[in-house]
Symmetry: C2
């Protein structure tokens, strides 16, 4: 009945400049001092795992209402932390763009980094991050979670650009439009539309109430 330390680590993803980014912090203290790492911290004595993840999310990025937060997986290999036996429960967060890169962070320098250009990471965080990105990619296929990367009201084109960034591909705008608007519960029209930009104004939508997409929106092939 060994004694363990339990932490939560966050894979926070967002879309910036059309590319998928992850929030990384620079570690201010050993071990791995100066290295990049996923944000995270200890679970408090009377705190549930999900609550700890939500608290870290607020502390690291000043986020009160993430687009989506879900448990990813747990990692507890004996040698993964030189300080001792530490099990970390990783969470995946999907966020709308640009919630102040470092707002309220208690870690030295938090910043958004493109997942296509990652530095070396502390601990086993590279593997955790890879698992998180793959989870996000898969979830876009059969859930309406792409909208979790968007602001409260968004256009179909914005939603499509989320898919293109996460999957690193291009999609046909016309077919994507039809698919998104005709799939029950994916998006709901607000009646409002954009203005003041080039081209025809785009209708604005909010997230629909569905939890799964039926039929799914499959990648490539």
């Amino acid at each position: 009945m060994t004694s363990f330390t339990v932490t939560v680590d966050l894979v926070m993803l967002t879309i910036r400049q059309g590319a998928l980014h992850v929030l990384l912090i620079r570690r201010a203290i050993p071990p791995y001092q100066g290295a990049s790492a996923l944000p995270g911290g200890f679970v408090l004595p009377e705190e549930d795992l999900g609550a700890a993840a939500a608290r870290e999310l607020a502390e690291e990025a000043g986020i009160a209402a993430p687009g989506h937060l879900e448990q990813l997986a747990s990692y507890g290999a004996p040698g993964r932390d030189p300080r001792g036996r530490v099990v970390t429960v990783a969470y995946l967060a999907l966020l709308p763009d640009a919630p102040a890169p470092t707002a309220g962070s208690d870690a030295a320098g938090a910043e958004w980094v493109p997942v296509a250009a990652l530095p070396a990471l502390a601990f086993d965080h590279a593997g955790i991050l890879a698992d998180g990105v793959e989870r996000a990619r898969a979830k876009l296929e059969y859930t309406p979670l792409g909208a979790a990367f968007c602001p409260p009201e968004f256009t179909i084109a914005e939603l499509r650009q989320v898919y293109e960034a996460v999957w690193d591909t291009t999609l046909d705008p016309r077919n994507f439009h039809r698919k998104a608007t005709s799939t029950e519960g994916f998006v709901e029209p607000t009646g409002r539309s954009t203005a003041g930009e080039r081209g025809r104004p785009a209708a604005l939508y909010t997230r629909g109430s569905a939890t799964v997409l039926s039929p799914p929106l499959l990648r490539s092939r």
Copy 2:
């Protein structure tokens, strides 16, 4: 930096008499003495989480080579175990039928119970089991893991009966046969076939090498 106890719990599923069953133990000691629960135990000082799950699998059911073993999720609500702060990492195991119901078990009375007729469970195990069953149902859609419930060599009809038991539905035998045999990497023919049963002998297959089914095999609708 609270101190935690870490356990692994197993959702072990198999098919018996055409129905999905789970292995439950009867707790011999408090808390929840006498109640049904998922098999599980403490993670040892120098043991990885997955290794602990594999060890418990062997101890509880005498299984050396499960059809499949994967991490499910972690549960750590503050009051989930009256003994203190216990985080459990749940694993999902899919097994071929009938590996001696209680062989080698160190818990009082382990037995296979139909998931359609569950008793009340100790701790938060009812929720963990529900998550495991849902994971299994979803995984059959887009991976070849149905074969993990089958013996090393199996017929297409046996594989179909796995899907029917897990999804609690019926499938068209002819369409399922075509789908299973024509999907790349799902099953591999052995050249052998059954004999001594009613009707035309069935060809025997082994698990294919694919990790995902493309296109997937979707439920109902």
